[in-house]
Symmetry: C2
């Protein structure tokens, strides 16, 4: 009985921690990750600052936990569902659909967490910036790796530089995200889709 | 004599105001435009807060004046020198050279002022956000207009959508700027140049 209660409490604690961090990530895309203090977040989630302090010891710990939470959300909305499509060209098309839908559905109110946070923190050295850079690099690496798979499968022109193509895909995503937040219209998302689909069509090998 | 002194004082005042605003724009790309208070700027330029208050009445006035100063700097580094190249394709090539050089030369320590400030402020309604959006839209409009000139001159495929091409050019600039700030390497700048030059080459009509 006491074991069950302990388990239940732990489970509640975990759920609560996850919910707090999701709110922290959403809030960061509106007010900035740098503005994310324990006091500000306590206000936003309706908890006491001391209650939050029990979860996160410092502002930096809170920011780092928020980055991990946002990475999990991006993974769940974009990377994980795309992994159900075969590696190579089908998965590249899936990334386009899923990334643009993730922006359009306002998963974060201020657009992609990483686009916002990396732009904000890129001149502020420290573990938070380093972690943001690592997540962004990993995403670019995933795109390049998927191009390589498409080349290995004979779907894509093998003379294309995978890192160059990954840059071009992310460039379209990055500006589409920014302009969607500014205009809240699907036009920039459609422009990004057209950019990428035309680029992929031009280098897709006929079977 | 007193007229000359008055003129001199006015001229010093203007120079001083311009120098303060350039410092404010540079500081904003490191610490954020939202963090730009009279107190923080006074500290950065070594003036008293009351001295700055004589120049700018409020934080919002200071932010708006900083946006105008940054727009003037962008104009001086990119738009104005490109206007010496003929409208159309030569000017598009000039924009590529000048924009990438403006980023590489660290005109602003945190990269393009408008990329940073628009990303930071896009969820914060008000006159500062509106002005940032207007400057950014004007730049996209300039790119599209230059594409139209290239089409009218018979240099570029007339079936291309100028707004779509402007989006693609700015997408490459936007990510190149972000990644240059993150990595301080010329690689993302070269990737952007390759993206744009290949795209333009594909739609350039042979004379």
């Amino acid at each position: 009985m006491s074991t069950i209660q302990t388990r239940k409490r732990r489970s509640d604690g975990e759920r609560s921690r996850a919910a707090i961090l999701e709110e922290a990530a959403r809030l960061s895309t509106v007010e900035g990750l740098g503005g994310l203090s324990l006091a500000r977040l306590a206000d936003a989630v309706g908890m006491s600052k001391s209650g939050l302090f029990a979860h996160f010891g410092s502002k930096e710990d809170l920011q780092l936990a928020t980055v991990e939470s946002a990475a999990g959300i991006f993974e769940a909305h974009v990377v994980e569902p795309a992994s159900r499509s075969p590696g190579g060209l089908p998965r590249l098309h899936a990334f386009v659909d899923l990334y643009l839908r993730y922006v359009e559905r306002d998963v974060f109110p201020g657009g992609c967490f990483f686009a916002a946070a990396l732009t904000e923190m890129n001149m502020q050295p420290g573990p938070v910036r380093d972690r943001l850079v690592a997540v962004f690099d990993s995403w670019l690496g995933t795109l390049a790796e998927t191009v390589r798979e498409g080349q290995a499968n004979g779907e894509l022109d093998p003379s294309e530089d995978p890192d160059q193509l990954a840059f071009e895909l992310e460039a379209a995503f990055f500006l589409a995200n920014n302009q969607f937040v500014v205009k809240h219209s699907s036009e920039p998302l459609e422009r990004a889709r057209r950019t990428i689909e035309q680029r992929l069509a031009a280098i897709t090998l006929q079977p």
